[in-house]
């Protein structure tokens, strides 16, 4: 246990060192937020005050508030914080976990992919975990290529059935991604763009890195069009309503700040527990956490 504590501390220290060297400032944003994110497959913990009145939700990621900081003029920011997901429990999931999120103003998603590659290599070195396989550059593949390579299916053939897409992805594709070296998967379908802008080819400017079949991070070339973002939020709300899921409110201040001139930006969210697990070759994220939920 003490060894895990030391390695976690070294990891956090290496992350801070890495970003300080690149002129990022560390920021803190609230854990209790007025909207926890509207993605249909996310569920959040509601927070009530002592009188039973709703205060908000625990953040599923610090995304909205960090982007508001970009609109306020911040150029390069990062945050290491706890994030909360209501129903995610498993070897690679805890309902309370540690997220690293960072943003660059006036940058593309390519710059963020570069940060990710360098960060992981730097952290592996700092932990004294020799990992030649994580040295940049990482392999890249589009979602369509990954589907064709691992499942012999085209993205086009799965586009009208999202559940089938995710089933094929979970069963056939993801377990085989990044088995030798980390891989970056780009060009997600526009319907899964979430808070990413669209590329000229019509695909979402979104990337995910995978290592040994584990999703390590999810990044965007950020959508800065408030009208389009509202349209997506409303679509997600309608889908939540139709599916009998709680319908979280739209964060109006976030949308207002987006419209007030958020710069073209790139952002990425990376699972810190998963990174430590992968670098140490541990079997689960619980093995690298001092208090996973089941041991509390």
């Amino acid at each position: 246990m003490v060894q895990v504590l030391e390695l976690r501390a070294a990891l956090l220290s290496a992350i801070r060192h890495f970003f300080a060297d690149r002129d990022f400032i560390e920021v803190e944003t609230p854990a209790i937020v007025p909207s926890p994110g509207l993605d249909v497959h996310l569920s959040a913990f509601e927070v009530r005050d002592p009188r039973g009145e709703r205060v908000g939700w625990l953040a599923t990621s610090p995304e909205y508030q960090m982007k508001r900081l970009l609109s306020a003029g911040a150029q390069r920011i990062f945050q290491v914080c706890r994030s909360y997901r209501g129903e995610e429990r498993g070897r690679h999931h805890e309902r309370e976990f540690t997220m690293l999120e960072w943003y660059r103003a006036d940058a593309t998603s390519d710059a963020l992919i570069g940060d990710t590659e360098e960060l992981v290599a730097f952290v592996a070195d700092s932990l004294d975990q020799p990992a030649p396989e994580v040295q940049p550059p990482w392999q890249r593949m589009t979602v369509d290529e990954a589907l064709q390579f691992h499942a012999h299916l085209t993205l086009a053939s799965l586009l009208d059935d999202e559940e089938r897409f995710f089933r094929v992805w979970a069963e056939e594709v993801q377990p085989r991604l990044g088995n030798e070296r980390p891989i970056v998967v780009t060009d997600w379908p526009a319907s899964m763009a979430s808070l990413a802008k669209l590329k000229p080819n019509g695909m979402a400017d979104r990337f995910e890195a995978f290592f040994r079949g584990v999703e390590l991070c999810n990044g965007f070339g950020e959508l800065t069009d408030a009208t389009e973002q509202r349209r997506r939020f409303e679509r997600d709300q309608a889908e939540r309503q139709a599916g009998g899921l709680p319908v979280y409110p739209i964060d109006e201040r976030f949308l207002a700040d987006l419209g007030r001139g958020m710069p073209e930006s790139g952002g990425n969210a990376l699972g810190v527990d998963r990174l430590l697990m992968l670098l140490l070759g541990a079997a689960s994220i619980q093995a690298v956490m001092p208090f996973p939920e089941e041991q509390l």
């Binding site: 993605d39 497959h41 129903e87 995610e88 429990r89 498993g90 070897r91 690679h92 999931h93 999202e162 559940e163 897409f165 995710f166 089933r167 992805w169 979970a170 069963e171 993801q174 899964m192 979430s194 995910e208 999703e215 999810n218």
Partner: protein, 187 residues
């Protein structure tokens, strides 16, 4: 009605009328996507192990199974007869249902019998049983350390590899999970 949040090792569910037991399970959620539970499940009737992926939240039928402690009584045709040690109720399992476990049954051996909808479908023998050697090549005195082994036939027909010092008439402790020799029992 159960759902996927009830899935854990040993959870028993009904799929197309057949009971399956969960051997392994993993929560997976492709980024921003639908969550699934990938499982490895064992057909409790045939022992076959398959992979199956469930949508998170999917409803599941619990299999109506129970395990009862029973005592082995005697063979009868192609079957073996057992008796519930509490209710004295007698039940028969076919040799096919018993498979390898047939070799661990001696008069009076207590086993756990798995019942599905009230009918016996399989047994779990004790982890260790003691069986008599009925046939093996003569042993070599003094050779107690060598890694070399030889085949031996035990009183139930089970064949195991044993160290060279084991003789016909010896009593052996056998691990039923691996069908392997553990040690010679004194006396």
């Amino acid at each position: 009605m159960a759902d996927t949040s009830d899935i854990k090792k040993g959870f028993k569910m009904l799929l197309d009328g057949v009971p399956f037991a969960v051997v392994d399970h993993q929560f997976v959620k492709p980024g921003k996507g639908q969550a699934f539970i990938r499982t490895r499940i064992k057909n409790m009737m045939t022992g076959a192990v398959i992979d199956r992926t469930f949508k998170s939240g999917e409803k599941l039928d619990k299999a109506d199974t129970e395990e009862r402690t029973m005592q082995y009584l005697y063979p009868e045709g192609d079957t073996r007869v057992f008796m519930d040690t509490k209710s004295y109720e007698q039940m028969a399992l076919t040799n096919e249902q018993l498979g390898e476990n047939v070799h661990y049954l001696l008069d009076g051996t207590e086993v756990d019998v798995m019942l599905f909808e009230g009918r016996p479908i399989g047994v779990t023998p004790p982890t260790f049983v003691e069986l008599l050697v009925t046939e093996t090549e003569p042993g070599f005195k003094g050779d107690t350390s060598s890694n070399t082994t030889k085949p031996a036939t035990l009183e139930t027909g089970l064949q195991v590899n044993v160290p060279l010092f084991v003789n016909t008439g010896d009593r052996l402790k056998v691990d039923t999970r691996t069908s392997s020799y553990v040690e010679r029992v004194k006396g």
